[in-house]
């Protein structure tokens, strides 16, 4: 409860700051839509020649792209800015001020602020979801909607854990921009069905940079493609990754040397 109240205060100040830069929103929406044109247009050209890519139809792939946009937007809105901030704080030693506060350091470090205008990608993603579900022509039942919500939540947990692990690595390596780049490259590949990639890359995208859990599985749940993964496995992966990354963070914190030492 106390944390929820704290979150409200933190986000309110973020919104107040971002309101100063309202025009940014239109830039973001424009950029987001232009990016969408490139991805969807490219897929449309490919699907002009075939009706299915490794079993994915055009509307099903659109669902996948939509989930990608929503996930990417949520990450850039809530998680990534904070995590990048922590990386700087570790390097400069200013994480001291976070650690001194009488709340969980992990909470404060990871939910310090949000970037409101990054919601552009989320909105574009939601719009595309609505459109592509319509094109699927299938009726979305309660079970389907529920399993989509659960897999999305599990996906968010995995994204968060991935970032937390990345941040924790800075306690030892100080600079991890390079590893972050590699993670992003994996993410980039995930806007297409991972089935189109060779098996070793598919493995890497499932276990190393687990974009399969983040994007493919929620998209499968929504588009009604029978996933190979039962729902509880997705939940389990979400919970396990949260626990493991949190333990890792606590362990890493011990290696933090601070500003003065």
């Amino acid at each position: 409860m106390r944390y929820l109240r704290l979150l409200k205060v933190l986000y309110r100040t973020s919104i107040q700051t971002d309101m100063e830069y309202r025009a940014d929103f239109f830039t973001r929406i424009l950029a987001s839509l232009l990016g969408l044109v490139a991805t969807v247009g490219g897929l449309a050209i490919t699907y002009g020649y075939t009706t299915s890519l490794k079993g994915w139809t055009y509307p099903q792939v659109l669902v996948l792209v939509a989930v990608y946009y929503v996930m990417d937007g949520l990450t850039e809105m809530f998680i990534a800015p904070n995590m990048r901030n922590v990386m700087t704080q570790v390097r400069e030693g200013t994480l001291d001020f976070v650690l001194l506060k009488p709340v969980s350091a992990q909470f404060l470090a990871s939910f310090r602020s949000m970037v409101v205008w990054r919601a552009a990608n989320v909105l574009v993603g939601i719009g595309l979801t609505a459109y592509s579900v319509g094109r699927l022509g299938a009726h979305i039942g309660l079970t389907q909607a529920l399993s989509f919500a659960i897999t999305m939540a599990a996906g968010c947990a995995v994204v968060y854990s991935l970032w937390l692990v990345l941040v924790t690595l800075t306690f030892w390596f100080v600079r991890v921009d390079n590893i972050e780049q590699i993670v992003w490259q994996g993410f980039e590949a995930a806007r297409y069905p991972i089935e189109i990639y060779p098996s070793w890359l598919r493995g890497a995208l499932t276990y190393a940079v687990p974009v399969a859990f983040i994007i493919t599985i929620p998209a499968q749940a929504l588009s009604g493609r029978s996933g190979h993964m039962p729902l509880f496995v997705a939940c389990l992966v979400g919970i396990l990754s949260l626990t493991a990354s949190s333990l890792f963070w606590k362990h890493g914190l011990k290696s933090y040397t601070g500003a003065s030492s």
Binding site: L30, L34, G35, A38, T46, T50, Y192
Partner: protein
């Protein structure tokens, strides 16, 4: 002439030393160039597998088998690396935080130092990537057919690299007037992914896009050298292709000069 040679030699030496200091970082950077072409290749390989091995555009008669896609996107990956430019992203922050000011005090236009650093990046990373490219050629089994004109791809590549560099630098100058260059860069990227044939060979695109692409600067600094190397440009279209590259390069240089003069008046350096 000797002055310029000396200038570039000195700048190149500094830039290469800089690059070698951050070997790992620039390598990661360079690997970004792999992602796009390999994803496109995966998509089109899956599509051609679904169509029994070959994709044929019925209106133009262009046909691509799995090996042709591998050849197209692999050569594109290498040529794309040699023609890449990132100034549009860096320039904006230099204008915003005033980093441009010291560069303006020097007796030569800052573009020369930036161009030297661009060349240094390509030289060092190409040397590092050479074994990776070779490995990819062995792994992906491209079906490469050279013809008498394939060697012309080299001058086309040089012209394309110059065109992309000057054009992106011109685009970067937008930062003098607006701080919101994201949308402009994204527009450039979106146009580039279609009209430069990055997401699909232009001959497989719908006729109206292909029509635009043929005359756009994007193909001239994108797939034109690639198509030339793979013998996919008909003989009578080779000369017009080079002419188009040259015309666009002249336009880009004139535009750059005009915008630079106007922009520099607009620039109010921060902290100076």
């Amino acid at each position: 002439m000797k002055y310029w040679l000396n200038l570039y030699r000195a700048n190149l030496r500094v830039a290469i030393a800089n690059m070698l200091q951050y070997r790992f970082t620039i390598l990661i950077w360079a690997v970004w160039g792999f992602v796009g072409p390999l994803i496109s290749l995966a998509v089109w390989s899956a599509a051609s597998a679904a169509r029994g091995g070959t994709i044929v555009n019925k209106t133009t008669g262009a046909s691509f088998a799995a090996g042709d896609f591998a050849a197209y996107f692999l050569v594109y990956m290498i040529f794309g690396h040699l023609m890449m430019s990132w100034d549009a992203f860096e320039f904006a922050s230099r204008v915003q935080n005033g980093g441009l000011s010291p560069a303006l005090l020097k007796p030569v236009h800052p573009i020369h130092r930036d161009a030297a650093s661009n060349i240094a990046f390509k030289l060092t990373t190409s040397a590092m990537l050479l074994p990776v490219w070779a490995l990819l050629f062995v792994m992906l089994k491209p079906h490469i057919t050279l013809n008498a004109f394939s060697l012309l791809a080299i001058p086309a590549l040089v012209l394309g690299a110059m065109l992309r560099y000057v054009l992106q630098y011109t685009l970067a100058l937008a930062a003098f007037w607006t701080t919101r260059v994201d949308a402009i860069n994204q527009l450039y990227n979106t146009l580039d992914s279609f009209l430069a044939g990055r997401i699909a060979p232009i001959s497989l695109m719908p006729a109206w896009i292909a029509g635009f692409a043929l005359y756009s600067p994007f193909r001239a600094m994108g797939s034109f050298p690639v198509e030339l190397a793979l013998g996919r440009v008909p003989a009578e279209q080779i000369l017009p292709g080079f002419a188009l590259q040259s015309v666009w390069l002249c336009v880009a240089i004139l535009l750059l000069r005009a915008l630079w003069t106007a922009g520099i008046k607009q620039y109010s350096s921060v902290g100076a």
